[in-house]
Amino acid sequence: MVHAGIRVNFTSIMALFMVVGTIAFVPKAEASCGAVSCFVTIGSQQQVSQEGILTVNGIYNYTPMRTIPGTTGIIPGVDTPNQQLILNHHQETRTITQTVTADLNYGITERWGLEITIPYLMRTHHHIDDLGEPPNGEGQATTFSSDGIGDIRVGLKYNVLPTLRSMVVVGFGVFLPTGTTNAVDSTGTLMEPTTQLGRKQFGLNPTLYQTYELIPHRLNQFAFASYRHTFENSEGYQFGDMWEFNGGFNLITVPWLVLSTQFNYRYIVHDTFKSSLYRSAQPSDGPALFPGDPILIDPNVRNRRVPTTGSSFTAFTPGFQLSLAELIDSPYTRATSVYFYSSIPIARDSNNSLAQGTSFVAGISRSFRLSNP
C-alpha cells in the first residue's frame, strides 16, 4: 500500500525559499524523484561542502500517484490499533504528495560534511474504504489530507581523496521519527502507516556518490546509490528496505546553463505487519456474509508480509540548472542556482497499488560561509 497526497501550500513553499540565503560556488545538479520520498541531488546535496561553508537547498517536489492501467488498486487495510490486516479492504484512487525540503550541508573539514534534511509534506489521498461492508459492500469514498514535518534525516559524509576530475563521497544517515503519525481521514479513522507523514521509527541510510569529469568543465557523469532500512515501529509495522540507483550526465552548454539527464531505479521490498489476518466479504460469500464485517482467516498475531506493498520504479529524468550568478551580477545572485527536473516513469511495478506518475522537482541552492578554516 503506497499512497501519498498533498494540498498545495504556497505560503510554506515561499517561506522555505526565503530561508535560502547567499554565497559561494554553483554546484552542478543531479536529480531523482522516487515515489513518496523524493530526493533531489543538487550537487552540493551529495558532495561535501568546503570547510566552513553551509550550503542550503530549498527543494519543492510534486508527486502524483494513480493506479496503472490493468490494475484494480484493491489493497489490504492495515488497522494498527486492532492489529488487523484485512485483505482487499481498500480501493486506491489517487494520491498527491507535495514536499518542500530544506537540505543543509555544512563542511566540518575539507573532507567531512554534516547534512540535515528537513522535509515538510503536504499530502492528499483518496480511496474507497470498507469494501465488502454494509450497507452495500461497495465501500465509502474517503479523503485524507495531512501536512507537517516528515522524518528528518541527519547524516555524515566523507569525501574520499577527490581530484579535479573525480569525486567519491560515502555517507551514512539516520532518519529520525519526527514525522506526524496520528493523522486521521475524513471519517475520523487513523490512517495507515504508509499514508502518515512519518514512519514512527528510526531508519539507517548509507549512501555512495561518484562523479567524474568526462570533458573537464563541460561534461560529467555521476552515479548515486542509496539503501534505507527502517526498523519495526511500536505499532508492529515495518517498512520494507529500499534501494535506489541513479546515474546520469551533466552538460555545461553555456556558463549559466547546465542540462542534466539521468535514469533512476528504485526497488522497495514489501512491508511487514504484526497482525491477525482478515479478508473483506465478497459477493461469492453469499447474502449471509456479504455485505458484512471482515471475515477472520487467522486470529494469531504474527509477522505478516503486507501484500501490494513493495514496488519497482524506473524513470528518466531530464532537467536543467541555471546559474543566477552567471546571468545577473549581483551580491544577491552570487553562487546561487535554480533548477528544475521532470521525472518520467518508463517502467513501473506497483503490485496493484498506486504508482508514481510524472513528477516534478524545482529548487534553489545557495551557500554561506559560517567560519574561516
Partner: protein, 184 residues
C-alpha cells in the same frame, strides 16, 4: 515475471553506469594529501605554452609560486593581475610564478593570457597529475616553495593580493618561521 523485471531494470542501469564511468576508474588517480609545510616537493615536468618542457627543479634556488588555475574559474582569473604585479616587481629578486593550467586546451589558455597580458610562465597540466600530486581538487590553489624546494605556504580558494604575495616572499627570503594558519 516480477523477478525478471526487477533484475533487468537495475542490471541495465548498472551496465550503463559502468560503461560510462569506466574512464573514471581508468584515468582516476586518487588525489594526494595536501603537502605539509616544510615538506620537500617532488619534482615534476610540464610543457609551457610554447611547447617547451619545464620542470620545478630548474627553478631551484628561487622562490616559486605555483598557482593552479583555469580560465573558467573566476577567482583564479581575478587574482592573476595581483600575481602579475608581484612578478613584475620581484622577478629580479629571485621570484618565479608558474601558473599551472588545469585540463584546458592550449588555444583557449593562450588567448586568455594574451588578452590579459600576463608574462609569467604558464604550464599545462593536461592530465591533472601535478594537481593530484599537490592535493588540488578545487581552484584556485597557490603554493609557495622556497629556494630549497620546500612548501612554505598553501593557500586554497582565497584571492591572492599583491601585498599578500609580497609579504610571503619577503618572509621566505628572510627565512622567518611561517605564521600559523599557513594551510588555509
Amino acid at each position: 515475471m516480477r523477478s525478471r523485471r526487477i533484475i533487468s531494470g537495475p542490471v541495465v542501469i548498472v551496465l550503463l553506469l559502468v560503461m560510462v564511468a569506466w574512464p573514471a576508474f581508468d584515468g582516476w588517480s586518487m588525489g594526494s594529501r595536501v603537502p605539509a609545510i616544510g615538506m620537500e616537493v617532488e619534482d615534476f615536468q610540464l610543457t609551457d605554452l610554447e611547447g617547451k618542457p619545464q620542470s620545478l627543479s630548474q627553478h631551484r634556488g628561487k622562490i616559486v609560486l605555483l598557482n593552479f588555475w583555469a580560465t573558467w574559474c573566476k577567482p583564479c582569473t581575478t587574482e592573476m593581475p595581483a600575481m602579475q604585479a608581484s612578478f613584475d616587481k620581484l622577478r629580479e629578486k629571485g621570484f618565479v610564478v608558474l601558473a599551472i593550467n588545469e585540463l584546458e586546451d592550449d588555444a583557449k589558455v593562450r588567448e586568455h593570457i594574451k588578452t590579459y597580458g600576463h608574462t609569467f610562465t604558464v604550464l599545462m597540466d593536461r592530465d591533472n597529475q601535478v594537481a593530484n600530486q599537490f592535493g588540488v581538487y578545487g581552484l584556485p590553489v597557490s603554493v609557495f616553495i622556497d629556494q630549497q624546494g620546500r612548501v612554505q605556504e598553501y593557500i586554497k580558494g582565497g584571492l591572492l593580493t599583491e601585498q599578500m604575495i609580497n609579504d610571503v616572499v619577503a618572509r621566505i627570503q628572510k627565512q622567518e618561521p611561517v605564521k600559523a594558519a599557513s594551510l588555509r
